[in-house]
């Protein structure tokens, strides 16, 4: 047995900046030095600006180095980085990983294992409190499992924040021999990557959460609807599902309990709208991803017309710890009606981008500056888009808003899936507003007129507004169009596109005026 463990993430974001090359070089250098090491490809710790983040485990403690490019590897060995705390000082060294403030200050419940375990190893999962939630669920009546989820205060983490317990209760109460559990892994919001990180870094927790949902509601079949843009997550999930079957955590007689749950991954094909739950169900059925009318609710008539629990990745992944530690444990975190933790994602022009799982209630400003460290470019942060492409652009004056569903709704914004995209003062907010309309036009499913046609008219009217003549008239027209989209659209795509458009117009009106635009570009 080798005594020395070195961790290099297998996460797509880490691989995208060279983690594979770094891992290869570490293996080669260790061989050259005749050092016996065990190279573990873990999930990402979420300190993405430090990727590839290499960790060395010495005496049960892990020491972080990052970013480590392949060409840095020999130097690290020369500095004795395999000695952990006894190593020579090195510019890439960050000390013990758990002591890095960015990580230390977080409250990781859903992401407890991500970056720590080997995502491909079910024994590692079990050794780190995995499947304890399922074990507890298997001893309970379905009503009691649902009651725990309700009592935890867990709300849908996909963006709509609907209480998960109510959904589950409806499905449990719905009659029918066949019910389904569907995971929405169509994480299309720009600025978000928490689903991807869970699926790549701890796929078993999602599988466990979905299995618990099946047992709680009487559903025996589950689907993970995964976007095609996440091939690494597909690999990780497929491998984890296979391992779970082999260890009898999926299939016909789960751990000898008699419970039955089958699970498979299905790929989307590049349609943002399929993140909307009814459109996702249509797509899973093999159809165009067009939005359905509600009612009927998917909980009563969902996939193939059968009662269906449909939740986001993070929602399901938060269930095991609730069942393991109890609803009050989870419920104790948070503020107001937003209970538990939310994995926030710091993205865009930010110095320290990454995943920050914290209880609800911290202010946006603290997140941006204390965690994020301000902009990457070093210029002032001018605008922040929270909640994906349908979220509002917030100016500096709103940075003190606490991260809480209701607080964001009060300023006509939304927390959504927890994505935060930072822009510095070089941003052109009229261009961002135009892009919001353009995106809606590209991704509209075409079912309702305000979204299908209104989005294209929106691009045109913003172009005319910015061009100058009759600007006042065009602004009236744009606001009127936004009202039609808000109240006349079938789903959130058309209904919320006015959020980024109007917030840009209201908070940054100078960017829409021809004369100031001319000055800015001069």
């Amino acid at each position: 047995m080798s005594s020395l463990k070195i961790f290099v993430p297998l996460d797509a974001a880490a691989r995208g900046v060279g983690a594979d090359e770094t891992a290869r070089e570490i293996a080669a250098e260790a061989k050259r030095r005749q050092l016996d090491i065990e190279l573990v490809r873990n999930g990402s710790r979420g300190l993405l600006w430090l990727e590839p983040l290499v960790e060395v485990e010495v005496d049960g403690r892990r020491y972080a180095y990052g970013p480590v490019a392949a060409e840095d590897v020999a130097g690290l060995f020369a500095a004795g980085f395999t000695l952990g705390g006894a190593a020579q000082p090195h510019p890439r060294a960050h000390g013990p990983t758990e002591e890095i403030p960015y990580l230390k200050q977080q409250q990781r419940l859903t992401f407890a294992r991500v970056g720590i375990t080997d995502p491909r190893s079910i024994s590692d999962y079990l050794a780190h409190e995995g499947y304890r939630g399922l074990k507890s669920a298997l001893k309970q009546k379905p009503e009691d499992i649902v009651a725990s989820v309700s009592a935890s205060g867990l709300r849908g983490r996909g963006g709509a924040a609907f209480p998960a317990g109510i959904k589950w209760k409806t499905v449990l109460g719905a009659p029918g021999p066949q019910k389904y559990v569907v995971c929405n892994a169509d994480e299309g919001d720009s600025g978000t990557f928490s689903d991807r990180m869970i699926m790549e870094g701890d796929p078993f927790v999602l599988i466990e959460g979905m299995t618990i949902a099946g047992i709680a509601t009487g559903a025996t079949r589950g689907y993970i609807y995964l976007r095609w843009e996440y091939p690494d997550a597909k690999r990780a999930l497929d491998a984890a599902i296979e391992a779970a079957y082999a260890a009898h955590y999926l299939g016909e007689n789960i751990q000898g309990s008699g419970a039955h749950f089958d699970l498979e991954v299905r790929l989307g094909a590049g349609a943002y709208i399929c993140g909307e739950e009814t459109s996702l169900l249509e797509s899973l059925e093999g159809k165009r991803g067009q939005v359905r009318f509600k009612p009927p609710l998917p909980a009563l008539a969902g996939l193939f017309g059968k009662p269906t629990v449909i939740n986001n990745v993070i929602t399901f992944a938060s269930v095991p710890i609730i069942l393991d530690r109890g609803a009050p444990y989870y419920q104790n975190f948070g503020m107001g009606r937003s209970r538990g933790t939310l994995p926030m994602q710091l993205a865009g022009n930010v110095k320290r981008g990454g995943l920050v799982e914290i209880p609800f209630g911290l202010s946006l400003r603290e997140l941006l500056y204390e965690y994020g460290g301000g902009s990457l470019s070093g210029r002032p942060i001018r605008a922040v888009q929270v909640g994906g492409p349908l979220g509002a652009y917030l100016p500096e004056s709103q940075f003190d808003t606490p991260l809480d569903y209701e607080a964001f709704a009060a300023i006509k914004g939304m927390l959504g899936h927890g994505g935060i995209v930072v822009f510095d003062d070089s941003v052109d907010m009229a261009a961002q507003a135009r892009y919001a309309m353009e995106f809606c036009a590209i991704e509209s499913c075409g079912k309702c007129t305000p979204c299908r046609i209104g989005s294209t008219r929106g691009v045109e009217v913003i172009d005319r507004l910015v061009a100058g003549p009759n600007a006042a008239e065009q602004e009236v027209l744009l606001r009127d169009l936004c009202e039609t989209l808000t109240y006349g659209s079938l789903c959130a795509l058309g209904g919320l596109t006015p959020y980024p458009v109007l917030s840009a117009l209201n908070h940054f009106p100078e960017d829409f005026v021809k004369s100031t635009r001319a000055q800015a570009s001069a």
Binding site: D195, E285, Q432
Partner: protein
């Protein structure tokens, strides 16, 4: 007594006419045979066809429709709805360039201009040597390390103009 109406035989074409190459036809039929019993089989089949052929040829549509007992319009409707499915042959490799907000905040628009300029093509186009197609994509989930792109299934972050050129050059060397 009236004489019986003479029976007319209406010839039914067993299979719609098609200009598919033999290997393409085999790929389509294989995908259908393997996957058509799945509930909601159409998307998995289209993925399998595109995976094997590189795109979904026009003449694959009636063949798939027939195998799944769907109308041609239904299959075409699904195929044309999803941005990922290609209806025309592309390059040997596809560069999926992210256009979404988080990458915009880090200069995605400039990278897009550089990409189009250096490849000499617009979005959905293919370079003259047939090596590379350029497609827009709306978020690759790499929003803290943008601008991002994916070449075939490999993600790349912090892509500068120089890095773009290097990645494309490396891609061109591959078969």
């Amino acid at each position: 007594m009236t004489s019986p109406v003479p029976r007319r035989v209406i010839p039914i074409k067993v299979e719609p006419p098609s200009s598919l190459r033999a290997e393409e036809r085999t790929a389509v039929l294989d995908a259908c045979a393997r996957l058509k019993e799945l509930p909601g089989a159409l998307l998995p089949i289209l993925h399998a066809v595109q995976g094997a052929v590189g795109f979904v040829p026009k003449d694959a549509v009636p063949l798939i429709a027939r195998q799944l007992n769907l109308s041609i319009a239904e299959v075409h409707g699904v195929l044309s709805f999803y941005h990922y499915f290609r209806q025309h042959r592309g390059g040997r490799h596809v560069v999926h360039l992210c256009r979404a907000e988080a990458c915009q905040a880090l200069g995605a628009a400039a990278l897009e201009a550089h990409a189009k300029d250096s490849l000499g093509i617009d979005f959905h186009g293919t370079t003259a040597d047939g090596a590379v197609s350029l497609e827009p994509v709306y978020c690759l989930g790499n929003c803290a390390l943008g601008p991002s792109l994916m070449i075939d299934t490999e993600l790349h972050g912090r892509v500068s103009a120089q890095r773009f050129d290097a990645l494309v050059a490396k891609t061109r060397e591959q078969a």
